[in-house]
Symmetry: C2
Subunit: 337 residues, 2 copies
DNA sequence: AATTTTCGAGAAAGCGGTTTCACGATTGAT
DNA sequence: ATCAATCGTGAAACCGCTTTCTCGAAAATT
């Protein structure tokens, strides 16, 4: 038996104001068209009792919660944090709140986690890079309104905010190529993630386009620790440039290399991806691809707002990351070349 | 007229299974004690219709949403992100979700924001360093169950997870003192914030205890930009050591000083507070006070869980930050001394 | 075999709002 | 002054689930 709170109800306000609950409801929602004196009385009683409509009851009656879910694979990742921060601010301006969920705990039941959280709110903004397309498609209908982050899938039929990882990583490749690098190593992201796959596609194209380029691949991950752990393997490839899956990995990698006595960028150039706020303050400042995650979050809300309002969400957007050259990349040293 | 979703209801399941809604409810909640055949039939129909209880209706009947709010002054701050991440994971393990809110937008109506979000869920984990004690006390009752972060207030009567900023900053001061520094400058945090005030208390005590110490204070803030903006003023104080409000400010400050040709730590030692994940990778790696925000988030949930269960939340905890000496501090240079 | 106890399942009353619908009171037209 | 149209308000149904209460049937007791 849950102990009910003692908060005033609409019935109590109605009783004290000598009107019906319907009238109180109308007054509270600005739909009251009757005598101003009545509205004033209702408002007075409401204020007196510190009455505020029970949000739950209201939602049930309205069939709408004014909340959305934001589901990401890792809440500890600064990129998602940036998106969350701006998404939540944008949504708040329209009276919406956001519910968060981190699907990393158990990727196996990600679908049920998402389904569960979806039932608590009106819609979901989903970033699920490791989910299979099939699963995503079969899940999508039960999630709508749905906005996808970091993966566009025409079959899903949901607005998507994506990042052009393919083009981005090629920019990085070219930048390094221009600096004289020919032997690269790519420190991969989470296995099976679409964003990792897109980077791989980009690198393949780059490899085929550019003469004399060799790109090794080694397992990595998405965190600083993964980068640190990859340092030894990066070294043994003998590559002069390491492209990390993202900035976190790049930061960990740089540190791991430094600890092993490998200088960045003198011995090995290192690049990241995302341009998290700290990328430019790391040692050395990271050459990376800048993605405006705040803008992405804001756009995600814009799409979502249209969706919940039953309007057309507008075209998908693909953010073209901007190459941010800092000091973790340099000309290939002739001692190693 | 909100367009109702087409999801199956308990009534529909009951009809198709030839039982009453009450029975379906009991089966779904594991409280059914009748014939197994009936339970099986209900489950079969439920599975067939992909029935899942409407969370809203359930919450309304139960008087409980299984969601809590997490309100912070700035969602973009890595410390709060770390807390959120672990809080949300811990809560998820008990079937709770977390709703986020960033109160930075308009500090003026922070109270109403908090009250609003509280009405959507069962409890709130609040970090409101700039709210006055009076306001907090008067608000507290309507927010309960309430867990406070970064401020303990006996009058409020809510479990609190705090950080011993006073002791921490004194550790920092002593560390610098031992390195020969006598002239400090403290780059303050947000005006009126209790966490800034506590640092100030700590510094005052430090100043009185240590002979020959001088501590200047300049306005700062809580972000990298604030740190950058303070660089010039830090320089003009002539201090040999700058204590920044937090790591973000310290990082911005270090960068600003470097740009102005001031070497850190050779010319000016710089310290932060929090030990955000990037503190050790910044240039130079930051001497700071390490606070285990993950642990704090987990503990916050532990307290909250006890509270919502009507149990005793256990004693308040004050995290004693650990001095993390890195390379942004060094012996005072004799050229400046 | 008759009576009491136990048990299984449904009817109905909430939870706290919103909204349709109906109806008596005003207002306006004739 | 009479009738139609308009208006303001409340009664009641509804949102979808939980749970108490009730009652008939089955099991246990004598």
């Amino acid at each position: 038996m849950p102990s009910r709170s003692t908060a005033a109800t609409i019935a109590e306000v109605a009783r004290q104001a000598g009107v019906s609950p319907a009238t109180v409801s109308r007054v509270m929602n600005g739909r009251f068209l009757g005598k101003p004196a009545i509205a004033a009385r209702v408002r007075a009683v409401a204020a007196d009792l510190a009455y505020a409509p029970n949000h739950l009851a209201r939602s049930l009656a309205l069939g709408q919660t004014s909340a959305i879910a934001f589901v990401v694979p890792d809440l500890a990742n600064p990129s998602f944090q940036a998106i969350l921060s701006s998404l939540s601010k944008a949504a708040a301006r329209d009276g919406y709140r956001v519910l968060v969920a981190d699907s990393a705990e158990s990727p196996a039941d990600e679908p049920s986690l998402i389904a569960e959280i979806r039932r608590r709110c009106d819609a979901v903004v989903l970033c699920a890079p490791r989910m299979s397309d099939d699963q995503l498609v079969s899940l999508a209908d039960s999630l709508r309104p749905l906005v996808l982050i970091n993966r566009a899938n025409p079959q899903v039929g949901a607005p998507s905010l994506a990042i052009d990882y393919q083009a981005g990583i090629q920019d990085l490749g070219k930048h390094l190529y221009d600096l004289g690098h020919r032997h690269f190593v790519f420190v991969e992201g989470p296995t099976g993630s679409v964003s990792n796959r897109q980077r791989l596609y980009g690198l393949e194209r780059f490899e085929h386009q550019m003469p004399g380029v060799r790109i090794d691949r080694i397992a990595g991950g998405a965190t600083i620790e993964d980068g640190l752990a990859a340092a030894g393997r990066v070294r043994t490839t003998g590559a002069t440039a390491a492209l990390a899956f993202n900035d976190l990995v790049a930061i960990g990698l740089s540190d791991g290399l430094r600890e092993a006595g490998v200088l960045v960028p003198e011995d090995v150039s290192v690049t990241g991806f995302d341009d998290i706020p700290f990328a430019r303050y790391s040692a050395p400042p990271l050459t990376t691809l800048s993605v405006n995650h705040e803008e992405l979050g804001a756009q995600a809300w814009q799409r979502m707002r249209a969706l919940v309002a039953g309007e057309a969400p507008g075209p998908d957007v693909v953010f073209r990351p901007r190459l941010e050259i800092r000091r973790s990349t340099s000309e290939v040293s002739n001692t190693r070349q």
